[in-house]
Amino acid sequence: MALNKLSSTLLNNSLVFKELKNVASVFSVRNFFNYYPTTSTPAEGPTKKLNMVQAINNALDITLQTDETALLFGEDVAFGGVFRCSLDLQKKYGSERVFNTPLCEQGIVGFGIGVATAGSTAIAEIQFADYIYPAFDQIVNEAAKFRYRSGSQFDCGKLTIRTPCGAVGHGGLYHSQSPESYFAHTPGLKVVVPRGATQAKGLLLSCIRDPDPCIVLEPKVLYRAAVDEVPIDEYLTPIGKAEVLKDGDAVTLIGWGTQVHVLMEVAELAKTKFNVDCEVIDLVSILPWDKDAVCKSVRKTGRALIAHEAPLTGGFGAELASTIQEECFLQLEAPVARVTGFDTPFPYIFEPFYLPDKWRCLQAIRNLLDY
């Protein structure tokens, strides 16, 4: 029957476009960044070429291996997760330790808080950061305030929430968000954003061991694009410490996650176009954040540019800018610049115009230099 054929060709790819003569493909994933791999190894011992998914998988594997109380759960985690971060872990550690939950983010986080309260290690996956809001109450009112309200009799420090965030080229409103500043506004949480495979592993292991509840926001566009030589043994990337990736004296460029790679390229462009050396800082950790490292750099350069994908108003750049202004007022040669997503929802087709891309950053550097 013709209909059977229709349905079954779905399973075995067929060509239905013979009649459409080569209309140029309009949809293309614009590369809005080039990945700058981490070359310095954070630990002794052998390394392996891993992308960010594999590095995360490796960190989860180490945890399940070494911490027998560790549990890993979330929507579709059993078969490996929609981004494959938990691939094969159920096979290895069993369905009592690695499992699917019903489709309910408030349930996932609430359950995780309970697991942690009872003394086990909880690693909860929220499928997309855009879908973390049903769990907002559990995170903000419960996880974050548990230790405080109980006089430290209780805590859920053994809870770690992992969630993919950020732009991917075609995610639109609900597969692109960077919600870090919502959580930065919540005392009691720790929030980190890896910029690649090496940091993803080290930060995840740190968060899992950290005595307070942590959120790891993983820029999903890096999952496969970010490939590093990653140490295969355990190592910890400190929470709360920024990393200076490139020394310079003209402008301090501050970003986190994918944006760090944009800024690395921008620094090169600034060198060739304006003949200046920019200092590039990966903030790594949003809460707490490394004021000392940022202010030390800005005191030296006298100029700061902060770039993030999230909207301008109330974005984490605002927090950095106001602290820089307080701490480095006398050294500043120009007002602190912010290049960010606009104050609109994240738009699907307009993404190339929305992102704080290298050209917008470059123009901001020009303005800082000319101020």
Partner: protein
């Protein structure tokens, strides 16, 4: 006037009397305010085995025959034909748009294979004035209402003709004109909204229908919606497409108990369970639900049992979590489109010739429209800044102007000519 007063007094009297009875020490029937009391001195669990499973209503058997003539919806020839043709059109559109994603022409797609009868059966039972809240896998409902292939293609391309102005990912359709509320990706958010809309539409001779998956039913919003709808008497039909999977998660890891339908009575909700691959069963159930919702101002829950034949989306490869034999079984033995076709052919309403002809026409139509949609320009990039609010506030105007100046300086770096 007097009669009304008298009946009000009578009602008050009965209420007071009931309350007194509730406090009386001799009463054994009504006691606690939270539930009706039936005393028992036997301590035993009530669980999903305490009741028989909720029956699944079916009209057409697998051979496309009506088993009980009294259940024949007696639809006229034109309606039957439109139902079938829309199902085939949906199939053809899905196939072509799915392939187009595979070729990198659009970024993403979700097909509806296997669930055609749930869309067309329910859509046909309602009027275009009834308000629809969808999840994302209900394109057939839109086609039935008159959303064109061009409308779908424009949305998937996010081109100038897209009513949503290119802001959302493919398949996030919406149409004010066709009373189909624009799809939002965050699951289950539509359910309490549907209850609210129904409340506001009370007395206007309209119902609201709200589609959701069995996975989405696990969200807290699903509980809120069902509970609000019953306690606040909202004329809304909650239509669950139970297709067995939520991405990779099978239904038996999503819930325990007798499906989604079993929750209905728990909320005090009139509930129907139907064979979702039987277009007549879905039609009859939706019609009955609408009648009840309108005449009584109360919600109805429908659980349509079906099967998601396709991958969850183009981002998914379902061979990682289910066998091809399992899928093949549903495609060949339990295909809702085939079942309906068998019915039509047995009643001399369709034949192989017409099948060929219609399939060809659909294909030609979709490909033509697709080619045109692909060439269409995107909306002007300034549309990125509109509609955040009804009136653009100053801070957004400033940002838009800054971007305009920036683009002026860096013209060659932005795809401006595609966005005009």
């Amino acid at each position: 006037m007097f009669v009304r007063q008298a009946s009000a007094i009578l009602r008050r009297y009965i209420k007071t009397n009931q309350r007194l009875k509730a406090f009386s020490t001799t009463s054994s029937s009504i006691d606690y305010p939270g539930a009706q009391v039936i005393w028992s001195d036997k301590l035993s669990f009530t669980n999903s085995h305490s009741y028989a499973p909720i029956p699944t209503y079916r009209v057409l058997n697998s051979q496309g025959q009506i088993k009980n003539a009294s259940e024949d919806p007696n639809l006229c020839k034109d309606v039957l034909e439109k139902m079938y043709k829309d199902m085939v059109l949906l199939n053809v559109m899905d196939k072509i748009l799915y392939e187009s994603q595979r070729q990198g022409r659009i970024s993403f797609y979700m097909t509806n294979f296997g669930e055609e009868a749930t869309h067309i059966g329910s859509a046909a039972a309602l009027s275009v004035d009834d308000l629809v809240y969808g999840q994302y896998r209900e394109a057939g409902v839109l086609l039935w209402r008159g959303f064109t292939i061009a409308d779908c293609v424009s949305q998937c391309y996010g081109n100038k003709e897209d009513g949503g102005k290119g802001r959302q990912m493919p398949v996030h359709y919406g149409s004010k004109k066709l009373n189909f509320v624009t799809i939002s990706s965050p699951l289950t958010t539509q359910m309490p909204q549907a209850a609210g809309a129904a409340y506001a539409l009370k007395g206007k001779n309209k119902v609201v229908i709200c589609y959701f998956g069995e996975g989405a039913a696990s969200e807290g919003d699903a509980h809120a919606a069902l509970n609000f709808a019953t306690t606040l008497d909202c004329p809304v039909i909650f239509f669950c497409r139970n297709n067995g999977y939520a991405i990779s998660t099978p239904a038996d890891e999503q819930y325990r108990g007798d499906g989604i339908a079993a929750r209905g009575p728990g909320y005090g909700l009139n509930t129907l369970r139907v064979d979702g691959n039987d277009v007549f069963a879905v039609y009859n159930a939706t019609l009955k639900a609408k009648d009840f919702a309108l005449s009584r101002n109360k919600p109805v829950l429908i659980e349509a049992l079906t099967y998601r034949v396709s991958h969850h989306s183009t981002s998914d490869d379902s061979s990682a979590y289910r066998s091809t034999e399992e899928v093949a079984h549903w495609v060949t033995n339990q295909n809702p489109v085939n079942r309906f076709r068998l019915y039509l052919e047995q009643n001399n309403l369709w034949d192989e010739g017409r099948e060929q002809e219609w399939a060809k026409e659909c294909r030609k139509n979709v490909l033509t429209v697709f080619g045109a949609g692909e060439k269409e320009a995107k909306p002007h990039w300034k549309e990125m800044f509109t509609d955040v609010y009804e009136e653009m506030p100053d801070h957004i105007k400033t940002q838009m102007n800054q971007m305009a100046e920036h683009i002026e300086m860096y013209k060659d770096k932005y795809p401006v000519k595609d966005f005009s």
